[in-house]
């Protein structure tokens, strides 16, 4: 069982690499090195802040875009090319296919993030000339970004399991935007009453809370991150991902592929 998931995951990763997904690393490197060199010339006293903010924001945005645009095609492309039938005609369960695809995409994003992290630390070394203790907090921010990717991958797969690629992209991106406003949505819920309050509160808890996973500003200012936050965010991301993947499996199991 696990061997089959690993095979599907590895093939998904290989397919993403063949699709030249990792080419975004070139754009990322140019962006960071350009920022590291030029910002010092056109602004005042924010070279380090820009490298950390821009680096982590770019890692996050590049990853979100990759997660959405690859995730939405993972199932539909296999159906369109009819390769799904070849896979499912073998002793592979549908849920294994979904979970394998998820791990393949997540693995692609982790490798991508790893190379980008090298870029961020390289640029930081260029502007600051040395690393300091609080710079290790960047690892925590990167870890939270990877947790975001897991959630988005699972959501993209969920939408991909029942919708067209275009609509899946719209749904996934909309959820990313709404998830960034999750705290505001909760604030709005407290201002309302009655049924509206119930609906708003329900929506606020149903959408993924990306603002809780965003600690870029705090890390840029070298503020400490509580161990409890790391633990709770990890559990939150894992449960949310499991929820979305379960939804994807439930839908895909019942989907008529004829």
């Amino acid at each position: 069982m696990s061997g089959r998931i690993v095979h599907i995951a590895f093939n998904t990763f290989r397919e993403a690499v063949r699709d030249r997904v990792l080419y975004n690393l070139i754009a990322f490197a140019l962006l960071l090195s350009g920022a590291a060199i030029f910002v010092g010339q056109i602004s005042i006293e924010i070279e380090r802040l820009v490298v950390v903010n821009l680096g982590l924001t770019a890692v996050s945005l590049f990853g979100v875009v990759i997660a959405i645009f690859i995730g939405i095609g993972l199932v539909s492309k296999e159906i369109e090319k009819r390769t799904l039938y070849t896979v499912l005609s073998r002793p592979v369960r549908r849920w294994e296919f979904i979970v394998g695809k998820f791990f393949g995409l997540a693995g692609t994003l982790v490798v991508n993030t790893f190379f980008m992290a090298i870029g961020v630390f390289g640029a930081l070394l260029y502007v600051a000339h040395k690393f300091s203790g609080p710079d290790s907090l960047i690892f925590v921010a990167l870890y939270f970004i990877v947790l975001q990717f897991l959630i988005i991958c699972s959501l993209a797969l969920l939408f991909s399991s029942f919708s067209s690629p275009l609509l899946s992209a719209v749904f996934a991106f909309s959820l990313f935007v709404i998830g960034s406003f999750a705290d505001d949505l909760r604030g709005f819920a407290t201002l309302t009453s009655g049924i509206t309050r119930w609906i708003a509160t329900g929506a606020a808890y149903l959408v993924p809370n990306f603002s809780a996973l965003n600690i870029v500003s705090a890390v840029a200012h070298q503020q400490p991150i509580a161990g409890q936050l790391v633990l709770q965010n990890t559990l939150y991301a894992l449960f949310y991902t499991a929820m979305a993947l379960s939804g994807a499996v439930l839908i895909f199991e019942r989907r008529n592929l004829k």
Partner: protein, 308 residues
């Protein structure tokens, strides 16, 4: 030459020619409508709106807005403009996006508070910015120092300046000179020695080259203003004693038993106008002086010195 190679060459040539033509045309269009590009316009001026639109990437947006503020101020300052309408909103958006972005407060106050063309001439907005900064970072003593500085240098409100320095001196790890400044504001606020102490503190407490250069210029200006004040008093005494305006500062120096005509911080002797006003030989070398300049003098671009 095969057909494929020919197509490649033609397409590549076409691409290069079109690219160059579009650049040349765009430059021509810019010349036809000058000023359109550097429009003094801020399309979204609500800090809350910008924060929401940043989708959680507010740290990066703050860096972008801070860079915009620096560029906006730098461009207008270089052009010797007198209006800086968008500076305060840019700084308010920057600090709303990232309330811990200290350069936006330190430099923002010194961009906003001084009278044009050295600044925006908006000390009230500078005070609001600094009070917001203190509210967000109550343990940062430098913010109290910068706020007191605005009250002292721009509003000449020594009571308020003293209060702010005293507030700052109570912050944990505050620099000891805040206590000295708070005491000086009460008794010797208008003395040159107090101004010198303030700018010396600014010089000593910062590692930033721009802040230190600015402090050096102000210290040089204080020296000139003190010299001009003393010399002008000497000229008045000469007029009282002799009933006429002295013909030169040599005459004043010998009447006052000085060793020679005093010199400015660049080593150039001060001059005397025919109506008895003490003047600096090269006022452009002292961008922040308010005394010793000829009537109708308009300051040029400041030239910064690195040594005190």
């Amino acid at each position: 030459m095969n057909a494929r190679l020919r197509t490649t060459i033609v397409a590549a040539t076409c691409l290069i020619v079109s690219l160059n033509a579009s650049i040349i045309l765009l430059r021509n269009i810019d010349r036809i409508r000058p000023g359109e590009i550097a429009e003094d316009e801020l399309y979204i001026n609500s800090p809350k709106m910008v924060k929401r639109a940043s989708l959680g990437f507010d740290g990066l947006m703050a860096c972008i807005y801070w860079t915009r503020a620096v560029q906006y101020f730098g461009h207008r300052h270089y052009q010797r403009e007198y209006s800086y309408n968008e500076l305060a909103p840019l700084l308010e958006i920057t600090t709303a996006l990232d309330p811990q972005l200290m350069p936006a407060y330190h430099f923002g106050a010194s961009f906003l508070a001084p009278a044009p063309p050295n600044g925006a001439g908006q000390p009230d907005r500078a005070i609001r910015l600094m009070e917001y900064g203190i509210q967000q970072n109550p343990d940062n003593w430098r913010l109290y120092y910068d706020l007191g500085f605005v009250y002292y240098t721009e509003l000449r409100d020594f009571k308020k300046a003293g209060e702010v320095f005293a507030r700052g001196s109570r912050v944990p790890n505050a620099h000891p000179f805040l206590k000295v400044l708070a005491a000086d504001m009460a008794e010797h606020a208008q003395d040159f020695s107090t101004a010198r102490l303030l700018w010396s503190a600014a010089y000593e407490s910062s590692q930033d080259t721009n802040i230190r250069q600015n402090a050096v210029e102000h210290l040089r200006a204080i020296q000139v203003e003190e010299d001009v004040t003393n010399l002008q008093n000497a000229v008045s005494r000469f007029v009282e004693r002799n009933g006429r305006i002295p013909t030169s500062l040599w005459e004043v120096a010998s009447a006052e038993h000085l060793r020679g005509v005093p010199v400015d911080p660049d080593g150039i002797p001060y001059e005397l106008s025919i109506d008895g006003q003490v003047l600096v030989a090269n006022p452009d070398n002292f961008p922040f002086i308010t005394k010793g300049t000829p009537p109708g003098y308009k300051p040029g671009m400041p030239t910064f010195h690195t040594k005190r």
